[in-house]
Structures are given as structure tokens and as C-alpha cells.
């Protein structure tokens, strides 16, 4: 089995869930939160991401978001694409087909 690649040197963004709504959100350039990963502020690597994480954790303490954490992203595409499959699903919504799934994907990409 192949080893998981080391991801610390990838660019990073901060994600969390919005406390009041539960929505998946990303920390933006103006230290606010957006549902759109395209609006996320990007740190060049995990070390640089630590400062952003401190900002995010302060906002968690202020009861705006829950459990913020860093995720590696590919910035060669726009919007940035999470490296991990799980995070891609969080960013894009369920990948399932069907009527109910279309309903599930509506309402994305709106700033909160």
C-alpha cells in the first residue's frame, strides 16, 4: 500500500463549520468566513498556516465557528482544490446523483 504523501508543504486554507448553521466555511482574506473556498485566504505551507489557525481559533472561542483546522489545497487551479478526497466532498457537497442530491447542493457559494 502506498504511503500517504506528506502534505505540510502544500498551500493551506482554514476550514471549520459555522456554529449557528453548521455550514462548511473557509477563513477569508478579511478574517471572516465564507462557504466558498474560492474566497479563502491561502497560506503557503503549514508553518505559515499556524498564524491563520490562531485567528480561526480565536473566532471559535467567540462562538462563530466550530473546530477550525488547516487543509492542504492545490492552488494551480481556481478555486483552490483540496488535496484530500474528504475535503473535496466538504467543499463541493455530496457527489450523489438524483433529485434529493440536487436539492442538497443548492445554496452553495454564498458568504455568511
Amino acid at each position: 500500500m502506498a504511503k500517504a504523501p506528506r502534505l505540510d508543504n502544500h498551500p493551506q486554507v482554514i476550514t471549520a463549520n459555522h456554529l449557528a448553521t453548521g455550514d462548511v466555511v473557509y477563513l477569508t482574506r478579511v478574517a471572516s468566513w465564507s462557504r466558498d473556498i474560492g474566497e479563502a485566504t491561502v497560506a503557503p505551507n503549514v508553518q505559515a498556516g499556524a498564524a491563520l489557525l490562531a485567528v480561526a481559533q480565536a473566532q471559535a472561542k467567540m462562538n462563530i465557528v466550530i473546530d477550525p483546522y488547516l487543509i492542504p489545497v492545490d492552488t494551480s487551479v481556481s478555486p483552490p482544490r483540496p488535496i484530500q478526497f474528504r475535503e473535496r466532498i466538504r467543499a463541493q457537497g455530496p457527489t450523489t446523483a438524483g433529485r434529493t442530491s440536487d436539492a442538497a447542493r443548492e445554496d452553495r457559494h454564498v458568504s455568511v
Binding site: L19, A20, T21, D67, A97, G98, T100, E106
Partner: protein
């Protein structure tokens, strides 16, 4: 159906008021997330991959049309217009906002429902045969006992913090449709030599990372002793169950580690001490609860097939296809049980839109005494339909894309929410189920293949019951890629068995082809009317293994 009394209604409403205050305090920052999380979980509110998810308890899978309409309204008002029926006979809303959750719970309370004990290390919703009260092979309606267990286990102070969660299932029929051998406690009603009805008590079954088929701890338990005996088992488990390791905390591990004989000894000793306590059920209490489950006012109809049904069966091919798979024999002459498939091609298994829920509620009112059941196979049931009404029911269901003729067939797949929704999953389940269903879309072939239970779990926790699928599929993460491990020969019915692992896991594209290959192998090997499971049990793993891996 059971109707809440004043006490039931009051405790549910009080809980809504408490939770409403707790949410307010969380949003204002008075409660931290660490303080709040156990409180929200005690009210069935999880934080999943994309949003909060509210798990609503549907006691023993029985719903009135009024309750189903209530669920449809909640789906529209607080969610995105649909709900997901689960293998626990419950319903999950996937997009509930925390700030609106108390209102959703208040609306649930208005239709005598709640989300209490749908999470946490307590006794969860008791599940049963979806054909209860209707099945031709039933000894007694198991819902009477499920309701007694519900009342005993709700807010039971001694069992609110067990080593781990606890699930009880009851069957009133020798043909087990409730998977009682893979629950923490399974209760199977049967008659003893004297002709009295009581319970075989099975303990220590379960799926998850360490699956076990339950073992019989008592062959025959008189009905009035049910709660004393359950309390004795729970007490032994509470005392001796492991709390040092979450993965070894279920009762199945205790039973496995100390052995069924030692377990029986401890339980019987406790039972002897409490048998004649207040837990002994008086006849009048049993009769009061049973009265709630009195049969509906059936019409006296002649035995045999109703002429309207026979005529439609002969003349309408599509109706015949549906009736063959989606109806079952009723105990009352002239009636039938209808299973509504929630496995339409292209839709996630178990999903129903609010519009569909409303339609089903209307159809139930018109044709099934306003009653609906949820199956652990993620379908719905109209338990009491007149045979003569079957063509009309079929047409009404068809208008809402609810007449897929595939109950028990390859496309009637159990699938957990998987990585598309669940925070615990390693791989997706629903898209795989959708691809497999597409592969078996040809009804002629699907009906020729016959009964085939495919069950998919997106992680080892086994919410999709993969261990007991005729073909089980377990999603695993291999270096960031989704792979699927196949098991064969599992079964959840009265011949319960855990599946055997076929071989190394396959990627998603190969998995769909592999299912096809397994089915083709079965078709070549089957004799007479053998189902997939029968052929597998006769020939074993080897021919299937060779068919999948020989070319590799």
C-alpha cells in the same frame, strides 16, 4: 397505533424546552462546544460532514400518516425538502441549522415524535418486523413489546451512561425480518411445548468492527418477565462491560470474552433477585398497551385472490412485475402488504422527498388505515391494503416515482450515507449503490437473478450491514483512494450468518464489474430455484474468488 398519554407528551415537550434553552446558551457563548456537544447529541443532533444532522426516532418503524406529514413539513421548513430513512428504521434530516433545531423538535413533538436516545451510550430505538400486525406468519404483534420496552428504556436513569450504545430488536414471526441475531439483544417470540407464547432471548450479536452472531441466553422467557430479564442483562453489562476501550465496549465483546455460560449465570442470578419486583408486568398493563395495537377494522373478505387483483396481474405486465416483488401475504383474507421501494434508479437509497412523503401519507389514509412502516432495508410499507385496491395503489405510487418493482432484488441496496454525508466514513456508499443499481436496471434479468441482498457500508462501523449482505461491500481508504472489500454469504434472517471475505479490496470501477461477475458466476452455478445465497452456501467461496481474481 400507540398514542402518547399526558406523561409522554409532557416529557417530550419539557425536553424541547430544555434543549431550546441550551441552544440559546450555546449561541450566546454561555456554553462552550465541549459543554454543549453531549447535550445536542442527547437530542439526536450530530455535526456531520456538511452540516448538522437530526436523527429522528421512529419507534419500531411505525408511523401514522399524520406523523409522516409532520416529517414532510419539517423537511420543507427546516431542511432541503427531503429526508433519509435509515437501517435503524429512523429518519435523518441532513441539513438542519442549529439555530432552528429547537423549532424542528417542537414541530416533531406536535406529532408525538422526538429525537431522544438516537445518540449516546443508552438504549436506542427498539426495532422490529416492518410487517408487524400484518404478517401471515406472525405469532403475535411484536410492537406491543417494543412499546413496553420503549416506555421502560426512555430516560432509564440506570442505563443512560452504559459502556456503549445498546440496540434491541424484536420479531414476532419465525421468519425473522428484524435481524434479531445481529443486535445487542434479540427477542424472538415463539411457543413453548405447553403452547404458551414467550421469548427466546439472544444476546451479544452485532456488526461493526467485530461482528458476532448473537447467542441464545434463554430459550423461553415468559412474557411478564420481559422487563426483569432485560434489566438483568443491562445491569450485568453495565457492571462488567469494558469502559477502557471504546472498540471493545459493546455487550458482544463481553459475551465473547466471558462466554455465554458465564454471562447466563450472572444474568440469571440478577434475574432471580429482581424477578418479582415492580418490573414484573401485570396482565392488565400488557392488555392496555396491546389495545393500542388492536387490528384495524378490516372488512370481512373472501379468502383467495381478489378478482380485481388477478385481472390486473394478468393484463398489465408492469403491475404484475411490481406485485410479484413489492407485495407480501397478509394474515387477513383479501388484504396484502405493500412495500414501497425507496430504491428508484438514480436516487440515493432510502431518500424520500417531502412531496413523496405527503403522497404516501395520502395513499396510506385512503388505502391502509393511515399506517406506514419503515423497514431496516430503507423502504416504506403500507401494511394493510385490500387486494382489490392494489392496482389503484400501484398507480398512485407510480405517479410519484414510488413503484420501482425491485424489493429484495439486486438494486434494492442498503447503503449507509457514506463519505458523501458522514463524518466517520472512509469511502462513499451512495454513488456505488447507484452504479450497481444501474447495472441491474433490466427487470427481466433482475427478476431472473431473484433475491439478492447487497449491503454497503462506507466504514467499519457497518451501518450498511455489509457483514450480513448476500454480497457485502465495505468501503476502505487506501492512501486517499476509495477501495471496496467484498464479502459473500452473509445473511440477517433466521439463518443469520456473517459473510466471508472474498479477497483483496477493489477500486470503485472494478467493484461494479466484480458484482456483475459474481452474479454471472451464480447464474452459471445455480441449480433449480436456488437463490444467490443458496448457491453460495452449496458451492462455497472458491468459484467466486476465481471468477474475480483469476484474471488478475
Amino acid at each position: 397505533m400507540y398514542q402518547y398519554d399526558q406523561l409522554d407528551q409532557r416529557i417530550v415537550e419539557e425536553r424541547v424546552a430544555q434543549f431550546s434553552d441550551q441552544v440559546k446558551r450555546r449561541l450566546s457563548g454561555e456554553l462552550s462546544e465541549d459543554e454543549f456537544k453531549p447535550l445536542r447529541l442527547q437530542n439526536g443532533l450530530y455535526l456531520q460532514l456538511h452540516a448538522y444532522m437530526l436523527r429522528v426516532a421512529i419507534p419500531y418503524g411505525t408511523l401514522s400518516s399524520k406523523q409522516l406529514r409532520g416529517l414532510a413539513q419539517i423537511a420543507c421548513k427546516y431542511d432541503r425538502g427531503w429526508g433519509h430513512f435509515t437501517t435503524r428504521q429512523n429518519l435523518q434530516f441532513n441539513w438542519i441549522r442549529l439555530e432552528q433545531a429547537p423549532d424542528a423538535l417542537a414541530d416533531l413533538a406536535r406529532v408525538q415524535m422526538h429525537a431522544i436516545q438516537t445518540s449516546g451510550n443508552c438504549i436506542r430505538n427498539t426495532t422490529t418486523d416492518q410487517f408487524a400486525g400484518a404478517a401471515h406468519d406472525e405469532i403475535e404483534d411484536p410492537r406491543v413489546w417494543c412499546e413496553i420496552i420503549r416506555q421502560w428504556s426512555t430516560f432509564h436513569p440506570e442505563f443512560s451512561f452504559l459502556p456503549r450504545k445498546f440496540k434491541i430488536a424484536v420479531t414476532g414471526s419465525p421468519n425473522d425480518r428484524a435481524a434479531v441475531r445481529v443486535h445487542d439483544i434479540g427477542l424472538r417470540m415463539h411457543r413453548n411445548d405447553a403452547g404458551e407464547v414467550g421469548f427466546e432471548v439472544i444476546v451479544g450479536g452485532g456488526l461493526g468492527r467485530t461482528p458476532f452472531i448473537g447467542k441464545t441466553i434463554r430459550d423461553f422467557l415468559p412474557k411478564q418477565d420481559l422487563l426483569s430479564y432485560l434489566e438483568a442483562i443491562l445491569r450485568v453489562y453495565n457492571l462488567f462491560g469494558r469502559r477502557d476501550n471504546m472498540f471493545k465496549a459493546r455487550i458482544k465483546i463481553l459475551v465473547h470474552e466471558i462466554g455465554i455460560e458465564a454471562m447466563r449465570e450472572k444474568v440469571e442470578a440478577e434475574f432471580a433477585a429482581i424477578r418479582d419486583s415492580a418490573l414484573r408486568l401485570p396482565e392488565e398493563t400488557i392488555a392496555q398497551i396491546a389495545a393500542h395495537f388492536a387490528p384495524p377494522p378490516f372488512e370481512a373478505l373472501p379468502a383467495g385472490i381478489a378478482p380485481e387483483y388477478a385481472q390486473a396481474f394478468r393484463t398489465d405486465f408492469d403491475f404484475g412485475l411490481w406485485a410479484r416483488r413489492n407485495t407480501a401475504r397478509h394474515k387477513q383474507p383479501g388484504y396484502a402488504i405493500v412495500t414501497i421501494s425507496l430504491k428508484k434508479e438514480g436516487e440515493p437509497p432510502g431518500d424520500a422527498s417531502a412531496e413523496q412523503m405527503q403522497a404516501i401519507a395520502d395513499i396510506a389514509d385512503r388505502y391502509s388505515f393511515g399506517e406506514i412502516r419503515v423497514t431496516h432495508e430503507q423502504n416504506l410499507v403500507l401494511p394493510h391494503v385490500k387486494q382489490a385496491d392494489l392496482p389503484a395503489v400501484w398507480r398512485a405510487l407510480k405517479a410519484y416515482e414510488l413503484a420501482t418493482p425491485n424489493v429484495g432484488l439486486a438494486s434494492d441496496i442498503i447503503a449507509c450515507p457514506g463519505l458523501d454525508y458522514c463524518a466517520l466514513a472512509n469511502a462513499r456508499s451512495i454513488p456505488l449503490a447507484q452504479q450497481i443499481a444501474r447495472r441491474f436496471r433490466n427487470w427481466e434479468r433482475a427478476h431472473d437473478i431473484g433475491e439478492l441482498k447487497i449491503k454497503i457500508s462506507g466504514c467499519i462501523n457497518a451501518c450498511g450491514h455489509h457483514h450480513v449482505g448476500h454480497i457485502g461491500i465495505l468501503g476502505v481508504d487506501k492512501a486517499g483512494e476509495e477501495f471496496y472489500q467484498l464479502t459473500l454469504g452473509g445473511s440477517a434472517d433466521d439463518s443469520a450468518a456473517l459473510g466471508d471475505i472474498l479477497g483483496p479490496a477493489l477500486n470503485q470501477a472494478r467493484t461494479v464489474d466484480a458484482i456483475d461477475t459474481l452474479v454471472e458466476t451464480y447464474l452459471q452455478l445455480r441449480r433449480g430455484k436456488e437463490r444467490f445465497l443458496d448457491t453460495y452456501r452449496r458451492v462455497g467461496l472458491q468459484p467466486f474468488k476465481e471468477a474475480i481474481y483469476a484474471a488478475a
